[in-house]
Amino acid sequence: MAYFKMSWLALKWALKKPATSPYPFVPRRLLAGSRGKLSFTKDGCVYCNVCAKKCPTHAIVVNRANKKWAIDRLRCIACGYCVEACPKDSLTLKPEHGAPTITRDREIH
């Protein structure tokens, strides 16, 4: 039958477990290499401002005088350019993604 080429595929999958998952109830599998959320560790940071300079979207602001590091999460594109540039390895990209937000507040560390 030239008309029912899809039947086998549809029936096979009707009996199989669905490929999707009930998302909010079952969290998504995290992939190790994924560029998710940028995380900052205060310990080694020398507030050299390199990350802020390299950031293509100007999401990071560093204040050397007050020893403050801030990021605008809505602006960050998770490219990881700052992670590569950081001389002290204070920045890492975690595979998990950030929580949704509706405010534009800067996250200050």
């Binding site: 595929l9 549809a10 560029r35 594109i77």
Partner: protein, 358 residues
């Protein structure tokens, strides 16, 4: 029915992106199609004058959400040409692999949209199910699902080790098997054929003269594929352009279906031939000069025209995307078709408006 004007877009369920067509319809037959685009012109080309050329890779990648990797690859190639950067061979192979992966995921996306366009929802869902598997591989290797972000001037940012590579090859076997099932429905099912055969036919001559590129042109019988230029690793991996002669929507989906398997074979060859070594070289200095670089995106030939004057910003950055070149052909075949065929014809060029209005 008297003449009616049916507004098609800029917000229309079949269109992922905004393009507007005023369809003058007579008894469900399209008499005239008046296009208007330019709803989302972002001026990314101008942004090149403000961002330094290294940072701009990330902007170039965001020209399009689907062929993103090949955009960044082409941009890097262009800058490397200007600066005479010797890119390590391993990086070229990795670029080829990721480029072909993005071709597969783009074609699967297109096949899904095409199935959706003809009201074949289950085929659409199954195409995208397979695409998800591939996106997982891409995310695991590059860190992003569609914005790979793994290309940089002078090489690539991440390596694929041998263990991951063998895992990918194993998964590719699975994916290829699934893709064969889908392709069988696309190419053999009679109800699909009823919707695709003879729709939007372009002769070889017309397609060439209207400046079509990519699968549009190849489906009309012109064997033109920029990969034969031998950029990246395509100097070592021979690519035979997939062509058909019918020039209708069915021929175009056939070309794309076959390219899926061609890309899988290219990825396999690339993994087999990939040399060890560095994945990037350090780039210093600023670009100068002018170049026109072309690569083959899933949608066809993309042209980058870069003009630099020795500063860290480019003087002119110009992209001619494949959709832009295929639009005249779409407008050519629209008049005379049925209203039901309009989604088929619009989708058949694989429209990417965000590319077009970079």
């Amino acid at each position: 029915m008297a003449r009616t004007v049916i507004p098609f877009g800029p917000q229309h369920p079949v269109l992922p992106e905004p393009v507007h067509l005023d369809l003058v319809v007579e008894d469900e037959r399209v008499v005239e199609a008046r296009p208007s685009i330019g709803f989302i012109h972002r001026g990314l080309e101008k942004l090149a004058e403000k961002k330094d050329y290294v940072e701009f890779t990330y902007v170039a990648e965001r020209i399009c959400g689907i062929c993103s990797f090949i955009h960044s690859q082409t941009y890097c190639q262009a800058v490397e040409t200007l600066m005479n950067v010797p890119v390590p061979p391993r990086a070229l192979y990795l670029r080829t692999i990721w480029g072909e992966m993005s071709r597969i995921h783009s074609h699967l996306l297109w096949l899904g949209l095409m199935a959706d366009g003809m009201g074949f929802e289950s085929l659409f869902m199954h195409s995208w199910r397979i695409r998800e598997q591939l996106l997982d591989i891409i995310e695991a290797t590059t860190g992003g699902r569609v914005i790979f972000g793994s290309c940089k001037v002078g090489g690539v940012r991440r390596d694929i080790d041998d263990e991951t590579a063998s895992g990918i090859l194993k998964e590719l076997d699975e994916i290829e098997k699934d893709m064969r099932e889908i392709a069988r429905v696309f190419l053999e099912d009679k109800s699909v054929k009823a919707r695709l055969c003879g729709i939007g036919t372009l002769s070889k001559q017309e397609a060439y003269e209207l400046g079509c590129v990519g699968p549009m042109l190849r489906a009309s019988g012109v064997a033109q594929d920029m990969r034969t230029l031998g950029y990246a690793a395509f100097g070592d991996i021979a690519v035979e352009p997939v062509t058909r002669t019918e020039g209708d929507s069915y021929a175009r989906s056939t070309v794309r279906c076959q390219e899926l398997f061609q890309s899988v074979s290219i990825i396999r060859q690339a993994f087999a031939k990939m040399p060890a070594g560095e994945i990037a070289v350090k780039v210093t200095g600023n670009p100068t000069g002018e170049t026109i670089t072309r690569t083959e995106q899933p949608r066809g030939e993309v042209v980058y025209h870069l003009k630099a004057n020795g500063t860290k910003n480019l003087q002119r950055f110009r992209v001619r995307t494949p959709t832009f070149a295929n639009l005249p052909a779409m407008l050519k075949v629209l008049p005379g078709c049925d209203l039901a065929d309009v989604p088929m014809i619009v989708l058949t060029i694989d429209p990417c408006i965000s590319c077009t209005e970079r």
